[in-house]
Amino acid sequence: MNKLITKKRIGFGDILIMIILTLLSLTCILPFIHIAAKSISSNTAVLSKTVYFLPKEVTFNAYSAIFKDGQLVWSMFYSVILTLVFTILGMILTICAAYPLTRKRLKGRKVITFILLFTLYFSAGLIPEYLLMKQLKLLNTFWVLVLPLAFSPYNMLIMKSFFLSTIPDSLEESAFLDGASDFTILGKIVLPLSKPIIATISLFYAVGRWNAFADAKYYITTKALQPIQYLLSNMLLSSSSDAISLAEGAAIQSTPEVLQAAIVLFSTLPIICIYPFVQRYFVKGIMLGAVKG
């Protein structure tokens, strides 16, 4: 009796914890609300430093300036395609590696696992990899942003643990004894049971590709092949020529600050759009998958 009551009662400690968590959550949300408010406020309001969390004198000029800028719109479209191709390939590779490595009857399983994971702990380094890309004639191509990173050993580990922990061995074994081939077991039993982890790992691949810009900085010089985050890093972080060129075209409508805010939000839009939908899957997926990092 007593125990039940203490379990349900919300005490001082609970309130303290909730206050701490609320404050932490606010630090994750308020900066973006502030930027969003700035992006649809008028120049004068932003310059007078009075825009906090609500927009003032609402205008969408900055966004229309973005849509008038060919480079940004193209880069956005290009990045979406790049992310899709990358995610699909990444998923195929990850499933192809994770499923066989969970089959205990597979000879050489340990060696193969070691080969696949070793690159996680020891990488050749920037220059040898750069020269390899050059040798493979991949520099300044679409594929240099897809192929080298498409297989992630870390994602493979998570998927492998998920298969091991959620799909009972007996299920696959009985199918195997009934004469089902491995392809059939994978397609008809394992994958349909693995929707949460497929959603989770797809999100990891997609977000990883969407956000990365280092490889583009290393391997891409052609403007048309630059993904949006790389373009962004050139526009927002340095006073390079890109920042000026767009600002000139849009100067009549927006100050650089309003425009910057709009560009940041614009480039994050795809993540904000898919995040809530995949979110409910990934907590479950990572929890079951992350038994051992």
Binding site: M18, L21, C28, I35, A97, F213, Q229
Partner: protein
């Protein structure tokens, strides 16, 4: 047990054809599995392992125009040069200092957060907080840096305006444009970005602790803090050890994108770390040998640290990683 069932079935099929179970037998039985795993293997060999021979540049006076064949081996000459290089010493010092800072602050944060989240009794509150706290992890360093630069501008940034309006400061704080302030902001933003995401793995470990232990502790009169100290923390110790080992391996590495995103002229003294050194000397100044040697040094130290940490963990009776 299960294996023996499988094996007996396998033997039945195999008996007439093979006397010994050689590789051919397993290839024939599991060809579909081998076919599947071939694809990722081809990928790692083509795009990762194929780069390993390039490491020999670290022991050569590599001239890009001449290629491997035309360049001379110089033994450890390149490494000797590096350790006399002032830029390298600065980059090495910064990498070590900032990684230690990151480890000291960013490593415990998700553990504490997971414990706090676990104590929340209101379901919807927990869910909403989690969703929100994971968000920064999904944003690129460019986006985070430009948002933070905006918020932390000395004159017009929201944080400084707020502090000035409250009368707490009379002049804006240069959070990201003065090197000492930058160091603090850089580390704290790192915590902020990874804390929520990092807590998931600890939360799942906490869920694995038997509720009986908590009940027993409660019956014994343990309060909330005592339960956390005596039940929760010991329960997630294996997870903490595993992640600590993995993190130690990154003690030499640094996140190139994070450094690039937060870099500016005023803070270059601290921002200049090994990843930047390798990029600038390698792709910037085309000093391939030197950049490769530093990369090799970084990778080897990381690997050795992981192995040592793993040994120590095992000798302390933990599971270890490898």
């Amino acid at each position: 047990m299960k294996n023996s069932v499988l094996d007996s079935k396998a033997t039945q099929i195999a008996q007439p054809m093979f006397k010994k179970k050689g590789m051919l037998y397993f290839l024939k039985r599991d060809w579909q599995l081998y076919l599947l795993v071939m694809l990722p293997l081809i990928f790692v060999f083509t795009f990762k392992y194929a780069a390993y021979p390039g490491i020999r540049m670290a022991f050569m006076d590599y001239k890009p125009a001449k290629g491997y064949a035309g360049s001379k081996y110089v033994g450890l000459e390149i490494f000797k040069k590096i350790f006399q290089d002032k830029d390298f010493k600065i980059a090495l010092r910064n990498s070590i200092v900032f990684n230690l800072l990151d480890l000291a602050v960013s490593f415990p944060a998700p553990i504490i957060l997971a414990i706090l989240l676990n104590e929340v009794k209101i379901h919807w509150f927990k869910k909403v907080t989690q969703t929100v706290l994971y968000l920064p992890y999904f944003l690129s360093w460019v986006v985070i840096a430009s948002v933070m630069l905006n918020l932390m501008k000395p004159e017009s940034g929201l944080i400084n305006i707020f502090l000035m309006n409250k009368g707490l400061i009379s002049q804006g704080i240069p959070f990201l444009t003065e090197k000492n302030h930058w160091a603090v902001s850089y580390v704290l933003i790192g915590v902020w970005q990874s804390m929520g995401w990092g807590s998931i793995i600890y939360l799942s470990a906490i869920l694995g602790i038997s509720p009986d232990l908590y009940e027993a502790a409660t019956i014994d009169g343990a309060n909330k803090l005592q339960r956390i100290w005596h039940v929760t923390l010991p329960g997630i110790r294996p997870t903490i050890v595993t992640l600590l080992i993995m993190n130690l391996g990154r003690l030499m590495g640094s996140n190139f994108e994070r450094l690039v995103a937060f870099g500016n002229v005023q803070v270059v003294d601290f921002q200049y770390q090994l990843a930047i050194y390798i990029y600038e000397k390698g792709l910037g100044a085309s000093n391939f040998s030197r950049a490769t040697a530093v990369g090799l040094f970084q990778a080897l130290v990381g690997l050795v640290l992981v192995l040592i940490a793993d040994k120590i963990a095992k000798s302390l009776g933990e599971n270890g990683l490898l």
